[in-house]
């Protein structure tokens, strides 16, 4: 990365709401990921007759997508003690604080965004949805990076980021047709014998604000977004560059923004989806950035618990990463069965690892060679 500007404000997280197949709230997600309790079950939401794979991680009695995202937004705003999003006496003049959404792009996207905008305005005084990020598995990670940039540059004191993905028949059928789903019905990140991913539900929202604004309001800080990076592989329509160079550049950018050396990072929440090619490329990226430190850098992908939430995955995994930093318990890389020599990492296996790293990374990659990295501090 070049041309780094000196930040005028430091972005912090003051509110977090999450619904996942593990349950409503951060605590059930924290417990399930810490112990590697997979949430996959037979798909009953729609007809999967004729599909090769018939499992996913689904919210029980899932509400409509807009309602699920609004529930997460409500939880995040309440935790951040934002009774209303409009300008308060003495607060920074930021009544147009952005709401950045991440959703799947399909024929229903505009309608879902409109319903979220309507609910957010009526319930929380949030003026509008600024834009919808539709960039697949990095959509929410890009939104968080952009939100952090908006705060760090002084453009806004507060930004709300929300994302939602509920497993639906069309996307499920497309993943099944593309042979992207795990034939054995389990997600096995970085493991020998991995055969693909499984989809999962998630609705997540985070309130980001400047540290000064949080201090002024007396709002508790859940975590700091110390750095962020985005990059592209320039390699292929859907395959990652095998040497991991693209993801490595996103991680390096995040570390440089944070002024953090690689050996100061104490945990990586990996993107690994259970894909044979992509997991290997990600392991190579981590080796490129961390060198020998990778031998003792705890890594886990938690998709073996909550599944792949596509456009919402980066925000779901940011929630998992924040929970790990706050609890001092690093989550298990669930689904792993045996070592793949091409994915030599210090994986958190069998049981949660008690440690309190100062910095953690959460990374995501997507089709088109898109990569994001978020550096999170306790």
């Amino acid at each position: 990365m070049t041309g780094v500007t000196v930040p005028v404000a430091r972005p912090v997280v003051t509110g977090l709401g999450v619904l996942s197949a593990c349950g409503h709230g951060l605590e059930p997600l924290t417990q399930a990921t810490a112990h590697g309790t997979a949430a996959f079950a037979a798909v009953t939401r729609f007809d999967v007759t004729g599909r090769r794979v018939r499992r996913a991680a689904l919210l029980p009695d899932a509400p409509p997508l807009a309602e699920a995202v609004l529930t997460a937004i409500g939880d995040a705003c309440r935790q951040a003690a934002h009774d209303t999003w409009t300008t308060r006496p003495g607060a920074a003049d930021d009544s147009a604080a952005p709401l950045l959404l991440a959703l799947h792009s399909d024929l229903g996207t505009a309608g879902v965004a409109a319903r979220i905008a309507d609910g957010a305005r009526r319930q929380w005084g949030i003026p509008a949805v600024t834009r919808v990020y539709t960039g697949a598995c990095v959509a929410a990670g890009t939104a968080v990076a952009d939100a952090a940039a908006l705060i760090a540059s002084g453009r806004h004191a507060r930004v709300l980021v929300a994302a939602g993905h509920l497993v639906a028949a069309g996307v499920y059928a497309a993943f099944d047709a593309g042979r992207a789903l795990a034939r054995d019905g389990e997600v096995r990140p970085f493991s020998a014998g991995r055969s693909g991913t499984l989809l999962g539900d998630a609705a997540v929202a985070v309130v980001l604000e400047s540290e000064a604004e949080a201090e002024r309001r007396g709002a508790p800080v859940l975590a700091r977004i110390s750095g962020w990076g985005r990059s592209g592989d320039a390699y292929h329509v859907c395959r990652p560059v095998p040497d991991g160079a693209g993801l490595a550049r996103a991680i390096a950018s995040a570390l440089q923004r944070g002024g953090v050396a690689p050996d100061q990072v104490g945990y990586v929440n990996a993107n690994a989806t259970g894909s044979p090619l992509a997991d290997q490329a990600e392991a190579n990226a981590l080796r490129r950035v961390f060198g020998d430190h990778a031998d003792r850098l705890p890594v886990s992908s938690t998709k073996g618990v909550h599944g792949h939430a596509l456009e919402a995955s980066a925000l779901l995994e940011l929630a998992v990463t924040i929970a790990a930093l706050r609890s001092g318990t690093l989550p298990v890389n669930a689904g792993w069965t045996s070592r793949d020599e091409d994915c030599r990492l210090d994986l958190v296996l069998d049981r949660p690892r008690p440690t309190r790293p100062r910095y953690a990374l959460t990374v995501n990659s997507a089709f088109g060679g898109a990569n994001t990295a978020l550096l999170v501090a306790a």
Partner: protein, 176 residues
């Protein structure tokens, strides 16, 4: 003081005339959306660099913004999912708006961030949404890219009439 608006290095449109053709894009089927994005982007990059692959790797971000999205691919997937037939495998990756950006990035060696957005306030036909220009400016100012290839593409809703026309505009932007 707010940063200056990005400087336009090159600009291209599709269509340029009433009989403008849209070249097929290998590996992408059943929809004009990805060929539309690719052709507008190719014209813009050629206008600045000449033939692909251009001068070599550049930290150019790709930002695709579309209110319509890929209507035809989405409809094809929904139709296939609702029937006993299998979804054609090629639709799996082309249903993802990043895929065509990966094609362009590989062909032109563009190593910057890859983004896809949908604006909540649409632009006039053939214009770029203001929100996308703001995002391009943020990306440039934030330092992960030296240039942004911004493509605004709208696929016509042909269920509303056969004479509707797809439109795309591409801008190559740098810091002002």
């Amino acid at each position: 003081m707010p940063p200056p608006p990005p400087r336009v290095l090159a600009r291209a449109h599709w269509p340029e005339s009433a009989d403008d053709g849209l070249p097929p894009l290998a590996g992408f089927t059943a929809s004009t959306f990805n060929p539309l994005v690719a052709e507008a982007a190719e014209r813009c990059l050629r206008a600045h660099y000449g033939p692909a692959p251009g001068p070599g790797p550049s930290r150019t971000a790709l930002l695709l913004t579309s209110g319509s999205g890929d209507r035809a691919t989405a409809a094809a997937i929904d139709a296939a999912a609702a029937s006993p037939q299998r979804v054609p495998p090629l639709l799996f990756f082309q249903s993802n708006p990043n895929a065509v950006l990966g094609h362009l990035a590989a062909r032109w060696q563009l190593t910057g961030p890859v983004l896809a957005t949908s604006p909540t306030t649409p632009a006039a036909p053939g214009e770029v949404p203001a929100d996308a220009l703001e995002l391009a400016e943020l990306l440039l100012a934030d330092g992960d890219a030296d240039q942004v290839l911004l493509i605004a593409a709208e696929q016509a809703d042909r269920t509303a009439g056969p004479d509707r026309t797809d439109r795309a505009v591409a801008l190559l932007l740098t810091l002002g």
